[in-house]
Subunit: 414 residues, 2 copies
């Protein structure tokens, strides 16, 4: 299945918005085994749309369009498609009833513009859009499928997942495709590759392994193709079961798991509470933890001790420690982790102090020197990172590593 | 000047990366008065590149290509362009010397692949790339300019700013273009529009006003075109001087200023210090403040009091206040702001408590109910926000509003 993606909208061509729809659609289609042969962004112009459609339908089995379906844009995409197929319009009572119902629930009435939105090209099969007013449209002529969707990302994603992808896999039977993602943290991709080299070398031709690194986390994705879906799924499950024990302590989750959600779940299950003491990450660790809805069940709070006086007064770091070792030191993060745990009365305290950059380093402690510690009341464990000079990257990388330290402590791996 | 942008790379077509180059280039070109007629993403394939080039050069005055110049991709873009122009290659000693020098400074030697990189199409004018090894290439044949650049964003941006845009404005003399951006916070775009309606209505034809909203901030951009650059710049300056007093208290900066950098500068200038007490924003406000390098000069720290016990023990919020009014209340944020100011011994304390969502609301206090307060020791001022149900949006929007409260207090506007 060859696919051409067309995004329509002046706001893309003037650079006002970055087209993220195309990459998302390409990802989903690739996971189904489709090949993207081109992506085109064009203006809301009748000629442009018709010419691009003509070219794309010659080149591809499937052409996916997003955008230009809103009432403000005068429905130019719909008109262009009808002109391309040389067809007329028909009123869709079903769509009209749905729109009227949608606005009634909001206590608002509909206008003539909404009624006009319900005239659809005669050869369109309508795809129900539960996220908005404009339905998707499916055309199947001359062996080529054309699908038109709204450009609003969550409406497009809903239609792709619930209507378009299932129909496409039925319309163009492809080989079986399956994927497994293993989420790791704690080692870079080259070290992981070295550890699982034997496993990787004996992978059969039809199974590929990809390393996808992101701020200290590495996703390992196994992708397989074959003729029998059930057999393929089984084969991948067996490979995952073989791979995971080889890097067990690095694996924090599967598929779309995030480290902050995983430690949240762990803490909740074990009835443990957490507090953080942050210097150079400046609140980002707490922000990452509290981005998860329900974090109040295990996260009590954070002391962002940016100034040394705050480290002393609120966390109980001793002046002698700061004078002798400085704020960026093993001794300081140890006292910070123990201090925040005591003062916030939690089971676990975790702390970070370092030089986020881009300036502020010394020959002793260059930019990117970061210490962290974790304490559970019985013992306190420390870690040192040596990162680069990019402030925001350092902050985000360090937050991830601190979350991993929480995971390792709770699981008895430090 | 009509421009077609082509991005080349399999990594775009499989959705592994989102193409952000096109939007950035489109923005820059639009600011120069150019019109983008199309954007196309294609694979690293000889046929694809040649066909797309042929089509684009027919349609546009300028075709900009990025990607496919790296050594790992076998220089397919360069070969495709040479084939398109039916021309041969010539060795660029200048490029070779630059690459050798570049690697010598890194203490590394060059390989045969690097020498091969220095063969260039005969009709290419080379554009020096100070950010990497592959130079940009400028072709000017049959009244159409074709420019090829590396796909690495910072290399492409360097070439666009230093080589391509200056040459294009010389090659295609356009009318004078100028822009002014005014950064505002504190009102939505429709209210701003109502306040400056008279100003907007009397703008001459050649000056446009755009409203660009983002998480509670609204950028106002005046764009003008004309024949005389100096006169146009003067005209825009006069319009800015006329507009700003009408919305004075909303204007926090100009051009690319950020609210966190602006309040940092304000606090530094006046020798004031700041501390924050956060509940529902969970550390995001502190993170936003400390994302600015040098924040330690005025930011002492934050108490992220997620749990009510932390609000009592570390911020001194009274149990009676929590029992009577709850944590999401005017009384609570008042005590939080005063408490953090006292305990962190700062000039200013700012606090936030609310229901970030998506769950946790009551009929009294629905999701999105957020209180904030600011105290300077003499008085404490409170504000209430009523936002939607999206957790991360609520957190970011609220942080911006709290930063604005700091600005208003320091400037004596609350």
């Amino acid at each position: 299945m060859n696919v051409h993606i067309i995004t329509i909208g002046d706001e893309i061509l003037i650079g006002q918005i970055t087209d993220t729809n195309s990459a998302w659609m390409a990802q989903q289609l690739n996971l189904q085994g489709a090949r993207i042969v081109g992506m085109t962004s064009i203006s809301d112009g009748m000629e442009d749309i018709i010419n691009t459609l003509a070219r794309a339908t010659k080149q591809a089995d499937v052409v996916l369009l997003t955008g230009g379906l809103g009432p403000t844009k005068d429905d130019i995409t719909k008109k262009a498609i009808a002109k391309f197929y040389e067809t007329g319009f028909v009123f869709s009572q079903e769509t009209y009833d749905r729109i009227v119902g949608f606005f009634e629930r909001l206590g608002r009435s509909t206008t003539e513009a909404h009624r006009q939105q319900c005239f659809m090209p005669q050869n369109a099969k309508l795809l129900t859009n539960k996220m908005g007013t404009a339905p998707g449209m499916w055309f199947d002529e001359n062996d080529t499928v054309v699908v038109s969707m709204p450009g609003v990302p969550y409406e497009m994603k809903y239609l792709m997942e619930h209507e378009v992808l299932p129909r496409l896999t039925e319309r163009f039977p492809m080989q079986a495709i399956a994927h497994r993602t293993i989420q790791t943290i704690g080692e870079g991709e080259s070290r992981i590759a070295a550890r699982i080299e034997a496993f990787e070398n004996k992978l059969p031709e039809h199974i590929k392994l990809a390393y996808l690194p992101n701020l200290g986390r590495v996703r390992l994705r196994l992708s397989g193709s074959g003729t029998d879906q059930a057999a393929l799924e089984q084969e991948l499950d067996a490979l995952v079961a073989e791979l995971v024990p080889q890097i067990e302590e690095l694996v924090f989750g599967y598929e779309t798991d995030s480290i902050e959600a995983v430690i949240g779940q762990l803490l909740k299950e074990r009835g443990l509470t957490l507090a953080t003491a942050e210097s150079c990450t400046g609140g980002h660790l707490a922000h990452q933890i509290t981005a998860i809805s329900g974090a109040s069940a295990y996260f009590m709070g954070s002391i962002v001790a940016y100034d040394n006086a705050v480290k002393e007064n609120l966390l109980g770091v001793q002046s002698a420690t700061l004078a002798e070792h400085g704020a960026v030191s093993e001794a300081c993060v140890r006292e910070m982790a123990e201090g925040v745990r005591e003062r916030l009365q939690t089971d676990i305290g975790v702390s970070i102090s370092g030089i986020a950059g881009p300036t502020g380093g010394t020959s002793d402690k260059p930019v990117g020197t970061i210490w962290m510690a974790i304490s559970d009341g019985k013992r306190t464990v420390t870690r040192k990172l040596q990162l680069g000079k990019k402030r925001v990257l350092n902050i985000k990388y360090t937050s991830n590593q601190a979350l991993n330290l929480v995971r390792c402590l709770v699981l008895g791996m430090v």
